[in-house]
Symmetry: C2
Subunit: 192 residues, 2 copies
């Protein structure tokens, strides 16, 4: 279980795409959501699209590893989705926020938690501004939220600076290779 | 601080040579000993050669990170030697036994502790026999000692199987790269 979190504007989406495209054999955990499917999106690829009632029912049934409400819509990680890959002994990649990461840590304490950092705060602000679509107030708000998230990096096992995509990718590859050598993991798998 | 331990017959010497020869920029911590210098050995390269009195004096003065008596001779790691490299912000490689590793962990809790495992117990026995110089009783004894050491792998952070030297080397390179990304280390160095 590899969990990747990072503040808005850190370039996490391209980073996650890079990780999935490479030869790390990482399986992406598809989230469930109540928001409407967009034209280019596919059920079970981008999201599992659930009605609000169905989502709530599954929350009650304990089927979610974590879930949250964002801008009025529900998003969450279904245990069936993560277990599907873990049972096949694959590494699962979860792309979630810090709150979600905390919930996942409780269910999967053996997970590898990676926080994506911007090269600098200036570069983060530049990226948030670069979109050119947001008001000054909105940019301020996003920057504040980003700082609040970055302050929680200590809750993560690793911090990877997303300066150069290839370098960041190599670091994650090293982290996964190293975690495979963890004495505690080897003992666990040796003892069945 | 990178500490490498492993049982006799696991091929640790060639493994350590491989690590030092490569581009990991690891500095070898030279041990001190009371045993006589051999013809091909150099002071300060193979060992620091100390008289028994000098060694004892330095033990009393707390100058050793760890020390032990082996076959009647004293061997130990001088704090001045490890600190020399750590102050220069270099990674120091220590090649010591499990007992020594425990002592080092107390002084350097942030160290990275790697245990070298044989591909199998059969291969370990084969290697111990392969030397062809030891009596059956001595081989039994070494094998028993090796098993006793292997049982302590859980005290280490990582376990690397020394099957193929290049693969084992790459794993250690990954471990060092990953440890550099540890959130706790990044926070520590960011906070000075």
């Amino acid at each position: 279980m590899v969990v990747v979190s990072g503040p808005s504007g850190v370039g996490k989406s391209s980073f996650v795409q890079e990780l999935l495209g490479a030869d790390l054999d990482l399986k992406y955990s598809v989230s469930a959501t109540t928001r409407a499917r967009r034209a280019h999106e596919k059920e079970g690829v981008d999201y599992f699209y659930l009605s609000r009632e169905e989502f709530r029912r599954r929350v009650e049934a304990g089927e979610f590893v974590e879930w949250a409400e964002v801008h009025g819509e529900l998003y969450g990680t279904l245990r069936s989705e993560t277990e599907r890959w873990l049972k096949a002994r694959k590494n699962v990649l979860l792309d979630i926020d810090v709150q979600g990461g905390r919930a996942v840590r409780k269910v999967y304490p053996d997970g590898v938690f990676i926080f994506v950092l911007p090269p600098s705060l200036a570069s983060l602000e530049e990226r948030l501004r670069g979109r050119g679509t947001d008001s000054e107030e909105r940019i301020r708000l996003r920057l504040e939220n980003a700082l609040r998230e970055i302050a929680l990096v200590g809750e993560y096992d690793y911090a990877v600076v997303n300066d150069d995509l290839k370098t960041a990718y190599r670091q994650v590859a090293s982290i996964i290779a190293a975690e495979t050598c963890r004495a505690s993991r080897r003992l666990k798998s040796a003892l069945g």
